[in-house]
Subunit: 501 residues, 2 copies
Amino acid sequence: MNKNYQNLVEKLEEISRLNGVLSTIAWDQEVMMPSGAAHARAKQIGVLSGVIHARMTDPFLGECLEQLQDQTEHFNAIEQCNIEEARRNYDLMTKIPRQLVQALAELGSHGHAVWVQARQENKFSDFAPVIKEFLKLKKEWAACAFPDMSAYDANIDLFERGTTTAEITVIFDQLKAALIPLIHRIEQHSYHPDTSFLQGHFPIERQAALARKISENIGFQFDKGRMDISVHPFCGGSHPTDVRITTRYNTHDFVESLYAIIHETGHALYEQGRMLEYSDLPVSESLTMGIHESQSLFWERMIAQSRVFCAHYFETICETFPSSLQRATVDTFYQAINACKPGFIRVEADELTYPLHIILRFEIEKGLFEGSIAVDDLPQVWNEKMATYLGIKPPTDTLGVLQDSHWSSGAFGYFPSYTLGAIYACQFFMTMQKALPDTDKNIEAGNFKPVKNWLNEKIHSQGRLYTPQELVLRVTGESLNPQHLINYLKTKYSALYKLDD
Amino acid sequence: MNKNYQNLVEKLEEISRLNGVLSTIAWDQEVMMPSGAAHARAKQIGVLSGVIHARMTDPFLGECLEQLQDQTEHFNAIEQCNIEEARRNYDLMTKIPRQLVQALAELGSHGHAVWVQARQENKFSDFAPVIKEFLKLKKEWAACAFPDMSAYDANIDLFERGTTTAEITVIFDQLKAALIPLIHRIEQHSYHPDTSFLQGHFPIERQAALARKISENIGFQFDKGRMDISVHPFCGGSHPTDVRITTRYNTHDFVESLYAIIHETGHALYEQGRMLEYSDLPVSESLTMGIHESQSLFWERMIAQSRVFCAHYFETICETFPSSLQRATVDTFYQAINACKPGFIRVEADELTYPLHIILRFEIEKGLFEGSIAVDDLPQVWNEKMATYLGIKPPTDTLGVLQDSHWSSGAFGYFPSYTLGAIYACQFFMTMQKALPDTDKNIEAGNFKPVKNWLNEKIHSQGRLYTPQELVLRVTGESLNPQHLINYLKTKYSALYKLDD
């Protein structure tokens, strides 16, 4: 084997393993750590992050990459991918001046504290300076990281590489044109599903047992992962053989927690399905935030919000919570969990209104980076867009522009991934249904293996061998196309809300 | 502040924090990790251990120490301690040739696997070569690490610094002379306490709730620690604010698990009681294995095996397990949990026979290092000593010489710490009873604060400011003296077994 490539692999594996350690203690912090240990843990994470940063910017790594630069023809696709990914990461880590890295880290830590306080006190003006400073630094960062891109494109590229502001604008405009009138028709319509039987008392142990059962049925391997409780549901872990999902339980609402676990199981199946033989190398890593989200939404929405899924689990759910669901049937349960209701909070939004929450944020970020929106005007812009898109106006900024943590840590360009993920998910699902025509029958029978195997083969095991654009083309035969999601939502919600009756 | 000292402190704190991370993932491995992640975790631990080793042997650390060498008079006691401890560790880490470090690590990993197999198959001859190789390497190690000491002294010094084979021999001979006849008298005596009511069915949730309550009553701070389940009880964690104890539960025996938790709580109180202002520096660290064990045994034996402790908790225990303990009284309960019965297995031994298990191992290790015992004769030597000391002969080597894991990882010189700890514990307890004459009354009333505060002040917060020898002198006014333990055991067991009746 080529000596430089061998050295590169060794260094990359070490970095990946140290990142695995960091992930484990980050998981521990959210799930296990006693409250009094926060200060000590922050110091531990600080030192370990420093170690990893030093490894990622090690000049020796740069030398290996230099030597490998013009030799790509000697390597197979997997090796080439590892070299290219390492190059991209090394450049990203070393092109940014040390002071800028530090300034961003400090603002992230400070900004989060300011945001928590501002949200609590409904005082956007306290948070505005943080956003202004972040925009300044993030533009500087973009000029260093991707000098050929516009500043917002560069920030998007970090999460959804290869996708541009212009492309997202076209896609989101299509969505807007279709979804706003659809939501409006539903709102105006006289029929609304009964959701009252979803309220009640749902003991946590029963919820947890049900969640575990469904997660396992879908394909989560508990010998290579865990399920625990945290304040915010997430999928973490340190390796494809150590994938950890969490949820939170509310004794008055089992649907939220159950669907959170199904969502996180979708993320987890991606991680557990990665190529094991290259598990500490970039080629095996998940592709982008959007593709990751496509996997969680695939299971949460395409599968678990379907009527066939409800039909399969209805009896189990009724047995789990016998007193609450007496009045429900498979159909009323299916209708209730799919109820559409415009609301202020993104993370509580349903499948149909969710994209509008994202489009609003995307348009604001775009305007902020391009200079067409001023930070001080954000509350007003936010509320106007909410009124236009969803017909509601947040009574406070806490329920509006201050609701998300993303901007407080400088994560601009992240939001589009959520809805790109939904579009990917739907397009993948449509392709799968053609490839596996028995899918509905299988799901209704509780046989999720063909679905999981299809995703494993087509997506999870592909790692970073292809760009997201190449992957979607290879898997579905066409480029990313929001029309699939639009058709799916129109068909589903027209039927649910009897819009054509 | 002195620049070299400042640099030293910074480096030491970083090492301590990385060790905290390592501890957390080691804890995770025993308590949380899914089984399928073992291989990936081993790789992660390998890389992190390498990072820590590189930090500990960093020539820059050596230069700082060099610069500080002759300046100790400029520093206060805490600073001096940090410098001296850092010097000792640095020397220990850098004096051993790389090949020897590697050979020991490889043999440890290989040796453990061989031991597991040999124990399972009752085949000492398979394990003998591992012991032989370890003896060879450990002698080499001793010649590098502590060239002025005998090889066995050097190995002991690693766990119980400043204590020699000669000193331990004198102390253990005194114990042997007193305990062997005492145990013999008990065995020959007609009276034996009724322990039948300790058998029954004890639901795990109830055991766990009781263990948690007692641990908390004693002083364990759950905002700075956790209590979980693992195969072998241990006390781990990453920092005085993050101390994690574990136990295992057996539905047929609540005493074993409860006293394991009290034992681990004793270790945990030491860790939680360390000087917080220097928590990532050597001066705050626990002193030796023997002193650590003295803290666990203090609570497990001196406190929790006393009649006053039983009196305080008897009602709670009866309420927790109402069906089992109907026939018991405070006195019969106290007698039952203190029953003395020679057995083959060290970790199951009672307070009175335990020292003989240790003395046997100490004498064997000493003989192995001095050359007076041959490895191949170990089963025979072991069984003869068991017959002489405890009057029983193991029917298999699995129940004899193969029972402990220590030698499989090369931990020679560790065993004496257990019984030195028991002697320290008793001597500390006797001193405390004089200083706090209300101790019995307080314990019977469930007021453990004065005891905990006394240990915090006299021992936990002293860190490494004194050697163990200095500490015991400062706290008790005399050197380590096994007579206290002998008197305590004679008095307690004569009464328990009515030997003078």
